[in-house]
Amino acid sequence: MALTPQDVGRIAHLARLELSAAEEAAMLQQIGGFFGIVERMSAVDTGGVEPLYTPLSAVQAVALRLRDDVVTEGDERAANQRSAPLVEDGLFLVPKVIE
């Protein structure tokens, strides 16, 4: 399946990446090339095969481990916001959010 420039634009927007014309062209060429080898994968019959979402489930049943409902974390705001780009009154500031 051939990747179009429209695809690249749509994906870049979904991924919130501003790409220069040069980058878009490079992406089109490189990702297109990559999907060349992907086609081999598509040809394989995987009927009846369960996806392997987490490696160990290849040999054992893996179940989600649950934690008890207890509060273990206190107020670490100062430390947690130390590397924040823009903070005021303990709030992270961003360009106006329009709902």
């Binding site: 649950l66 947690n80 709030l91 992270f92």
Partner: protein, 481 residues
């Protein structure tokens, strides 16, 4: 389905309800869920999605989902999957929301409720666990928005109904029944002002028999009144468009309580592509049968079941039974009162009358009522044994409520409300009244019943209200032969 039509159109409504689960800690972190803390003081490293952090699932949230599933007769999935819903929004710290997509924990089920006299039933599609987002504060920070992530990671149960509702009243009745249920089950505090229980309404209209119309989704309705107003406005808006020959486009809209109108959300304009995929940080959620059995074991009697029992065993009318089961504390208050006085109907009357009147006036919930079931029961007992009249009982209740006293008999004494049951003294009064009202006596003997009532009135007057009217008329009749 009811044939209720609006301007010749059938309305089709489905609700997606977000119930915040009443856990102490968040769904994937050990941060507190308490409402109203200083901004970002309850957003820990995991909630903020700081690099290197990972989610660990809260057992309490799963347990609450199981409780709900059992309460609505749903299937509890033995294995369910957490998936990532990917989109960018400032109140979504990871750039994805951990939710359930293809395999939710609760599958199917139904909610039964009364719409006026009518029994209604709405089928549930599913209920799944997910994390709440933070909040964007739109107060102006020099043209910017402030992001508070305290709410991020609060556990939510999203309850999705089938499009079974045919009007705003039915939608509201369903939402109320659902609200009663989740609070009754103690899985959600039900506080709508704080956003603990919010509804999204999917609304469409069609000509009867026509295929489903295009739906518009009204987001985040956090009061039953707004739910009703928003749906009513949306119905008219859609019908107007169709009548003008215009098409309805699928959209996500917001309700503005000030204008009473709905408008499309700008942030949802570009078609969403959430790129769901199973979260590789969270293996499948496995719920063993014995866990489900344990939860089933400590389920409370459900409101619908209890209401049926009260109609059957206490001979209460359906409406009374529904009122008595409006909440678990209310039902407990009723049963305690009933057990102490053995008078189901009177207990229900007092709770629906004096008690509810005062609770509503003071904006209190039943837990905060200053009068205890024991006190109310003692009062009812004194009315039944004739010690005090209904009138007097209301005065005693007033005193109990305002704290002027706590002991029913003492209050009756103190206020001199005890009815005169000493037939000797009453007989004397009756004799005096007959002697002093020869005219009325003659009229009565001439067959005028009104005259008799006048005589009873005289007796009550002479006894300064303490006479038991029944006893008084009985003695009069005897005396007058």
């Amino acid at each position: 389905m009811s044939a209720l039509l609006i301007r010749g159109y059938e309305v089709v409504i489905g609700l997606e309800t977000h119930a915040q689960l009443s856990t102490a800690s968040k769904i994937f972190s050990g941060a507190a869920t308490a409402f109203g803390a200083e901004p970002n003081t309850q957003a820990c490293a995991v909630d903020l999605a700081l690099p290197g952090t990972l989610p660990v699932m809260n057992r309490g949230a799963v347990e609450r989902a199981i409780r709900f599933g059992l309460a609505v007769g749903a299937t509890i999935a033995p294995l369910s999957i957490f998936a990532r819903k990917n989109y960018f929004y400032p109140d979504l710290p990871k750039g994805y929301q951990i939710s359930q997509y293809e395999i939710p924990v609760v599958q199917g089920g139904r909610v039964d409720f009364l719409l006026g006299e009518q029994k209604k039933s709405v089928r549930l599609t599913r209920a799944h666990l997910e994390e709440d987002a933070g909040k964007s504060l739109h107060e102006d920070y020099h043209g910017q928005s402030g992001i508070d992530l305290n709410r991020a990671g609060t556990p939510l149960l999203e309850i999705v109904s089938e499009p079974d509702m045919r009007g705003s009243a039915e939608a509201v009745a369903y939402a109320r029944a659902l609200h009663t249920l989740v609070v009754w089950l103690a899985i959600c505090d039900g506080n709508m002002q704080e956003g603990s229980f919010r509804c999204d309404a999917n609304v469409s209209v069609r000509k009867p028999g026509a295929p489903l119309g295009t739906r518009r989704e009204i987001k985040n309705l956090n009061s039953f009144r707004f739910l009703q107003q928003a749906i009513d406005f949306e119905i008219q808006w859609q019908i107007d468009r169709l009548e003008d020959g215009l098409a309805i486009e699928q959209a996500t809209v917001l309700f503005n309580p000030d204008t009473g109108e709905t408008r499309a959300m700008r942030s949802k304009e570009d078609a969403q592509d959430y790129r769901y995929f199973p979260d590789p940080d969270l293996p499948p959620l496995v719920i063993a049968p014995d866990w489900v059995a344990r939860v089933q074991g400590d389920m409370p009697e459900l409101p619908a079941v209890m209401a049926a029992r009260l109609q059957r065993d206490d001979a209460l009318p359906a409406d009374d039974a529904a009122m008595m089961t409006q909440s678990l504390p209310f039902a407990r208050f009723y049963e305690a009162t009933r057990d102490a006085c053995g008078q189901p109907k009177l207990a229900a009357n007092w709770l629906m009358g004096e008690v509810s009147k005062r609770l509503n006036a003071a904006g209190l919930s039943i837990e905060a009522a200053p009068v205890s079931p024991a006190q109310l029961a003692a009062l009812i007992a004194r009315v039944v044994d004739g010690t005090v009249s209904n009138n007097g009982a209301r005065q005693v209740f007033e005193a109990l409520w305002s704290g002027d006293g706590s002991e029913v008999d003492a209050l009756i004494e103190a206020k001199g409300l005890k009815q005169m049951n000493d037939s000797g003294a009453l007989a004397a009064i009756v004799a005096e009244v007959i002697a002093a009202n020869a005219k009325s006596v003659d009229e009565y003997r001439a067959g005028k019943d009104k005259a008799f009532n006048a005589l009873v009135g005289q007796v009550m007057k002479a006894s300064r209200g303490k006479a038991n009217p029944a006893q008084a008329s009985e003695l009069l009749k005897k005396a007058l032969g």
